[in-house]
Subunit: 356 residues, 2 copies
């Protein structure tokens, strides 16, 4: 069976080159005669994988020595509680930018540990990223979700905040250059632009990490991941391997600036079509549109179902919108090819014309 | 390069059939046209993977409806704190059987949450599993490590305890039939007998899970994994897939009873050789010997280094003992073939003869 065009919101499409390299590595990593799943995490072969993965991430993200690169065996949801547990004292306040389901879950967890001030909110329909924020007096940190996978909104730039930013970048990390300066900690589940699910990448300023609580279980402290180089216990070795291959692929594509250009082009092709269409309507406000997850509706429910059925026939997969929003959603992560967007637009156009 | 014989203590050898199936699934899962890393965890293709994996585990382990099968995106170390945080109140006592490094770490974490009573200890050299235990008056649970990877000891049968058993079975799960009756919760990092690192399997009695704290973050409660079927957030989809393939392989080998017989034979071949050898000495006491990790020393440090060098030349890998114990260690997990043990014994014999 031919490979489908995968518009899934995550886990999501990965570069085929990376998958083919991973296939070979399953039986034999780097000519070692042992597969990547079977290598001791303390052996020289895996240490080389860890080193090259970290080096590629540092290069691509432009991280200097003030930053640590951490691999946490958990998804982004785990950081919803791990961040406030480490950094938010009972008598402290953290500011949260509320842009949808994921920021809502992050806030819910933070309230277990300290005070949450909602600095801005896209409620109730979350079709835009709030342009203005009302900060609290002295927030411990400011948390935002750089891209909202479900509603299809994205911060054009990080908020101007009076405290270090903590960013859930799960669905747009490494899709464009990172403005590191205002950030203290960036976390991302790997299963969109980075690799498999079950592992998250954390980029963190070491001084911020040091400011966290030190009386928690070792695996609940970011500090442990810094001092033990993500090897306090056995890490997700396959996840680290695949992330390394994906980031090397990103580097070979020209890095984040080149990918941002390509991702802008990809999103523009789809949004331009939707904007001129009389049958399809994008959901997010123009200034807040995500380049990663394009959400849109059909003029009728019937049109949407026709489109989803035709897409399935043509090998275009993962286009149904999240159940809480409805409609359609095309996720255009790094590995989705430009040609794929053209095929999607052609089919949307065809379905629209057929319905007239 | 030919595949090496892998005696690593974990991550460790996996069945080559499973690896070949995983290779194919990376590009195309079950003829779906999308790879296992790229499938939405909410889609029908992955749901089928989850269902067949759970079904295979239930069949092989003999679990009835009172038991839940949980996949936690974390290693066993995470459970060292997750178990007491959920089940051990500040004013309660849990009994721990102390058989080495791993039980020591588990005890250290439990002390953050309540009182730990050391019911037995193999200190200082941990060469045997203590035959007698002194239980506290009313322990909340009794924790033991069924197999000690570093020292090479194994409980022949679970301890007779006055409370539900919690077992860290990371290094011998599914190597022999499970005596479920005395257990409340069994957890295991996957990277020895089950699959890749970065995921753990938990078999838990639902009533025990229900007795845990309900005011913790969702991912810190086993309850959430039961009610959400390990899908509260995106699980480690690849890990679940590989575990499913490994457990299907176990079933095809004849199940746990057949594997136990084979594992007994494998270990016996090596221990019988070591017992008659004048150059090589097993470290664990006879009654406590592990069938999974055989630890032994050479008559001299030089002999050990000669053996390790010759093994490397012959494609026998992962035989160096843990740094805290020294000597050699051969891990004989399910996927290590019987023929491999014979090759190891031949080489040990050859090195011994050459040194005379």
């Amino acid at each position: 069976m031919a490979r489908k065009l995968n518009f899934s919101s995550g886990p999501a499409a990965l570069p085929e080159d990376v998958l083919r390299r991973a296939q070979a590595a399953l039986l034999d990593l780097d000519g070692s005669g042992i597969g990547i799943l079977e290598h001791s995490h303390r052996g020289p072969e895996f240490m080389r994988v860890l080193e090259r993965t970290e080096a590629a991430i540092r290069e691509v993200a432009g991280l200097d020595g003030a930053w640590a690169v951490l691999f946490v065996t958990a998804g982004a949801t785990h950081h919803f509680s791990m961040v406030p547990q480490s950094f938010l004292g009972e008598d402290e306040t953290a500011d949260y930018c509320h842009t949808g389901v994921w920021s809502g879950k992050a806030m819910e967890e933070a309230r277990r540990f300290g005070t949450v001030h909602v600095a801005c909110s896209g409620e109730p329909d979350f079709t835009s990223t709030p342009r203005t924020q009302t900060w609290s007096t002295a927030p411990r940190y400011v948390h935002y979700t750089s891209n909202e996978t479900i509603y299809g909104t994205q911060w054009a730039a990080p908020p101007h905040a009076p405290a270090p930013l903590v960013c859930d970048a799960s669905s747009d990390i490494f899709s464009r250059p990172l403005d590191l300066v205002p950030h203290a900690l960036i976390y991302a589940g790997a299963q969109k632009n980075l690799g498999p699910s079950g592992i998250s990448l954390v980029l963190a300023r070491k001084d911020f990490v040091e400011s966290g609580r030190s009386d928690l279980p070792p695996l609940a402290q970011y500090r442990t991941y810094v001092t033990e180089r993500s090897m306090y216990n056995t890490p997700n070795t396959f996840g680290i391997y695949v992330i390394g291959e994906v980031v090397s692929w990103i580097r070979a594509q020209g890095g984040l600036a080149a990918l941002a250009e390509r991702n802008d082009r990809k999103a523009a092709v789809l949004y331009d079509f939707l904007d001129q269409s009389r049958a399809w309507t994008p959901l997010a406000e123009k200034a807040s549109r995500s380049r990663m997850n394009v959400t849109f509706r059909g003029a009728t429910k019937e049109l949407e179902e026709t489109m989803l059925a035709r897409a399935e026939e043509r090998g275009l997969s993962g286009l149904r919108g999240h159940r809480s929003v409805g409609g359609l959603r095309a996720s255009l992560y790094n590995a989705v090819p430009e040609d794929g967007i053209r095929r999607l637009v052609e089919l949307l156009d065809e379905v629209e014309r057929a319905a007239r």
